[in-house]
Symmetry: C2
Subunit: 198 residues, 2 copies
């Protein structure tokens, strides 16, 4: 459980989502799916074929004075329908799913090469914009064998909401780390003013 | 021109491709497109919507004794048709396009946070498996405004061929840095033996 909560904190640092206008023309076939009769998110089987929006390494949020956190890679993917909507509006539609995939960092062993590359899967988390959740957001941490998981709640979700509320460039999402989407949001005027160019 | 050649060397370190069986059932709509009557590759407009296979940072190949190379992020994308073929066969089909996208690395400024995230686009390169090229491979470096570019040739392509020949896990490609594809290739027995688990 300790492991899950620490991943949840990382998730809060990096995943994200938005607002929505349901369109009769748009079939949202790649949005969130829930276990029957619950708000437990089914693990998306094909997120690796969704749209990749950005990668980072070592991006985590130790408290002041603590050592730097682990050097993992974080890949973020978004469902294609929501991505296309963002390109047009600079905002996330309801039913957006962002997947945060954490992977180990392999290192080269040759003397003057310090490159790092992605290795084994460490964790998968999801951030879902859905009006069914309090405040419109659901945060999820998948264990290795979880086919579905309940949204974080209570004390477990509070740091997610606090950090996404305070340190995100677009709505509650870390678009400052997704360079192609940041360009779109700047053009469309949906970036918070502290993340616009001076 | 110096800039283009140095990017070409980086390209040789990271991009890649394969072998093909043309199928009447498979419409390859996302393979390479060439300027009419030439082997000049058109810049793929939508590669950011292709399949992301891996990211790395600082992965480049300085000569022994030289300082480590630049800390750029490298994102690699592959056309969806070839990706799906690889999942089934562990090999790349002919008409595979791998795009290597290089981005700057932004740093956090808070004292004990050493995370790095992706920023502006630095370069785009392509590696194309196509029987029209000598040895079956074409290597391309796009300048900022290039709509199409000729394949590297002569001395410019030699280091690409040398490195892809000597340091790649599957065929001529750096699948050792694409973790989900590495798993597939291990299962299907297409990994060179020095990259299999001991």
């Amino acid at each position: 459980m300790k492991r899950r909560i620490s991943f949840a904190l990382l998730a809060c640092a990096l995943t994200a989502s938005g607002i929505y206008a349901v369109s009769a023309q748009t079939a949202v076939s790649d949005g969130p799916t829930y276990a029957a009769g619950t708000s437990n998110l089914m693990r998306p089987a094909d997120y690796r074929e969704w749209i990749f929006v950005g990668s980072s390494i070592g991006l985590n949020y130790p408290p002041p004075g603590a050592p730097a956190g682990p050097q993992m890679f974080h890949n973020v993917f978004v469902n294609p329908t929501s991505y296309r909507s963002f390109l047009k509006t600079g905002k996330w539609p309801d039913k957006t799913v962002l997947i945060l995939e954490m992977r180990g960092a392999g290192r080269e062993t040759t003397a003057n090469r310090d490159g790092k590359f992605e290795t084994g899967l460490m964790a998968i988390e999801a951030n879902v914009k859905d009006s069914r959740f309090p405040g419109g957001w659901g945060f999820f941490v998948f264990g290795d064998n979880d086919k579905s998981v309940a949204p974080l709640s209570g004390d477990a979700v509070k740091p997610c909401l606090d950090c996404h509320g305070a340190h995100t460039a677009v709505e509650m999402t870390f678009v400052q780390f997704y360079p192609t989407l940041l360009e779109v949001a700047k053009k469309l005027g949906t970036v918070k003013k502290e993340y616009t160019d001076p």
